[in-house]
């Protein structure tokens, strides 16, 4: 049994009769020691789905799922108090912007010790020792003097290390890192990712790495989940997705990578933006931006299907040569858009 099991997770905002689905029937699972990469553009529902796993979606947001279990325990029906015992202890999360993730009014020490106090108890001395350990572990130089520092006295990279120390304080079994490097300098980015992967390996944690940096997940993740406008578009093992994307969106994302643009004058881009609340297309959500879309795609929405052992949400999944399959005479009545 997987550590985290998510089946048809849906998160809705807005009125009951006309809801906006920020996350639409997304399923995935993460095992011990596994790294799952969730990729997608801004607004694709990556963060919202992980907040739902953490139980941090507030009213008026609504979370529903066929199954949302952690280590066999149902997170949805669980009482709030019991769930808080898991949140922060067994499942921890790292947020995007370290500079705003730390409370400006409390010292580093107080903020890390707080998590320890809530979940592990122990006395102040033990907690302080553990905090010092943690700061060492996340590579903070001169940790002793940093203990009593306030967040505004720390740099971005340093803050992110503190945030990581805070997250791993209670030895979580699953760590969700929501774009942990987006707000940091490029040089610091690599260090932080290395740190995360090392911690993950050392303690055999499950790690969900949410990012829009494909190059990053290609190195770090075992499996990849491509999301778009709240829907799962493609998922499968990292190396095979990179070798042969089955979904036109994945293909376009990969082509947009600078290292794959050799021989082109400009970087290739995907025209348009992710549809928001008010401009959702009636058919496939990607249809307005997809180079292969036809009338069928515009009119009806594809479901997730199994294609060569990969979950793909497309009527015409790509073959190894990157060409759409299943385009037959009766389906190609319209011009490709």
């Amino acid at each position: 049994m997987a550590l985290l099991e998510v089946k048809n997770l849906t998160v809705e905002f807005g009125s009951e009769d006309k809801p906006f689905r920020a996350v639409d029937s997304v399923s995935y699972s993460v095992d011990r020691g596994e790294v799952l990469g969730i990729v997608g553009e801004s607004g694709s529902g990556k963060s919202v789905s992980s907040l739902a796993v953490m139980g941090l979606i507030d009213f008026p947001g609504r979370v529903s799922a066929d199954a949302l279990t952690f280590d066999g325990q149902d997170l949805i029906t669980m009482p709030a108090k019991r769930r808080r015992e898991i949140t922060g202890k067994d499942i921890a999360m790292i947020f995007q912007d370290p500079m705003s993730a730390l409370n400006p009014c409390f010292t580093v020490e107080a903020q890390i010790m707080e998590a320890l106090k809530v979940h592990e108890g122990g006395n102040k001395k033990q907690r302080r020792e553990r905090t010092l350990d943690l700061l060492n572990q996340v590579g903070i130089p001169d940790p002793k003097s940093r203990m009593t520092a306030y967040p505004h006295q720390l740099s971005g990279g340093m803050s992110q290390r503190i945030v990581i120390a805070m997250a791993i304080a209670c030895n979580p079994r699953l760590l969700i890192a929501d774009e942990p490097t987006t707000a940091l300098d490029v040089t610091i980015q690599a260090q932080i990712i290395d740190l995360l992967l090392k911690l993950q390996e050392d303690s055999d944690m499950g790690l969900i790495l949410i990012t829009h940096d494909l190059a990053l997940v290609s190195e770090a993740a075992n499996r990849i989940q491509v999301m778009y406008a709240g829907q799962l578009f493609e998922s499968g093992p990292a190396d095979s997705i990179f070798a042969a994307p089955r979904h036109p969106y994945t293909q376009a994302l990969l082509e947009a990578l600078p290292e794959r643009s050799e021989g082109h004058d400009r970087l290739r881009t995907i025209p348009g933006v992710v549809p928001g609340q008010y401009d959702r297309p009636q058919g496939c959500l990607l249809a307005p931006r997809c180079r292969y879309a036809n009338e069928h795609c515009v009119k009806s929405r594809p479901e997730v299907t199994d294609f060569n052992g990969r979950d793909v949400r497309c009527f015409y999944p790509l073959n190894d040569q990157g060409q759409p399959t299943g385009l037959t005479a009766d389906t190609t009545t319209g011009e490709t858009v």
Binding site: R84, T87, N103, V118, Y150, M166
Partner: protein
């Protein structure tokens, strides 16, 4: 911290000059003559009038009078009251505790009620509790003090008979003031029922005076709290698995209080201004009533001295607020 204090003290000096300047010249713009006021209906003849003018220094040019006054102030001499002939400072110090007592109770009422109301409104944003608290506080804010005080007296004192109408304590109790604070003195006196009497006299003035600051504090707390609750670190705190109560009371409130503290400091000025009305209505023997009476009699030294002392007090309170601000907000404390 010490440097910070000295810098703030330095800021007070020009403000102090400004206040003396304003008070001194503004009073003299009021069309009337203190000597004629003192003479009353009998009036004075021209010779005696000139004599009195010379005695009070009114025959000197205004600018000379001002510097004379200023020199006095620097030596701790606020002059003597035209009416009672007693030193203004002595009178002030005698009456001051009554006002402080009222002001402290007023601000306590405002803070103790205002902050929880603001927090409640913020965490119930958009629900009926939010609407209720905010409309009540808007009503409180819009109500003129004298009108509100009269309504309170009419309802609680006259109709229900729950509280006394005016004064600080029932006339049946008498004891020598020790601290000047009636609540404390009545306890120290050991007389049975004295404290209850003092307390019941305290209630309506406190409510009348504290309502506007309470409304301001509640609204400020609400908006500040709402802003803070949207911050990322609140989400992080919740992601630690903390109980909602702890997230709100520790992580959110501490940050939300920063602007509220400033507002509380500013309200002290409003409170002292309000005390003038409140004291007049409730016959509260404090400096508010004293200044109003001095104004009616054109008692220049008393008005000047009283206002100067109030201004000084407001500055002192704001200095304390600035220091508090540094304690609650580490980002200010460490700024060089």
């Amino acid at each position: 911290m010490l440097g910070f204090l000295f810098r703030r003290l330095g800021d007070i000096i020009p403000t102090f000059f400004g206040v003396t300047l304003l008070v001194f010249f503004l009073i003299r713009l009021i069309p009337s003559d203190p000597i004629l006021m003192m003479a009353g209906e009998r009036g004075v003849d021209a010779e005696r009038y000139a004599e009195l003018q010379a005695q009070y220094g009114f025959d000197q040019p205004l600018i000379v009078q001002y510097f004379d006054y200023l020199m006095g102030v620097f030596q701790g001499d606020l002059g003597k009251s035209f009416v009672t002939k007693k030193p203004v400072l002595d009178e002030f110090l005698t009456l001051f505790p009554a006002t402080v007592e009222l002001a402290v109770m007023g601000i306590l009422f405002a803070v103790i009620l205002g902050i929880p109301l603001g927090v409640l409104a913020a965490i119930n944003r958009g629900k009926w509790l939010d609407h209720l608290t905010m409309s009540v506080s808007l009503t409180g804010y819009s109500m003129p003090i004298f009108w509100w005080a009269l309504l309170l007296i009419m309802f609680f004192s006259t109709t229900l008979g729950w509280t006394p109408v005016s004064g600080r304590i029932s006339v049946m109790y008498f004891f020598e003031p020790v601290t000047g604070f009636m609540l404390i003195d009545s306890l120290l006196s050991g007389e049975k029922g004295a404290f209850t009497s003092a307390l019941s006299h305290m209630i309506l003035p406190t409510v009348a005076l504290g309502t506007i600051p309470m409304a301001v504090i509640a609204r400020m707390t609400r908006s500040s709290m709402l802003e803070v609750l949207g911050e990322e670190y609140i989400r992080v705190a919740r992601a630690k698995g903390l109980a909602p109560m702890r997230v709100i009371m520790v992580h959110a409130l501490r940050n939300a209080l920063i602007p509220v503290i400033t507002v509380i400091g500013l309200q002290v000025g409003v409170l002292l201004a309000g005390a003038i009305l409140t004291e007049t209505i409730f016959s509260w023997p404090g400096i508010g009533k004293w200044i109003i009476e001095a104004m009616n009699r054109r008692d220049y030294p008393t008005i000047q001295g009283g206002i100067l002392m109030i201004a000084f007090l407001v500055m002192a309170v704001n200095l304390i607020v600035d220091v508090l601000y540094g304690i609650i907000n580490p980002r200010i404390r460490y700024k060089r």
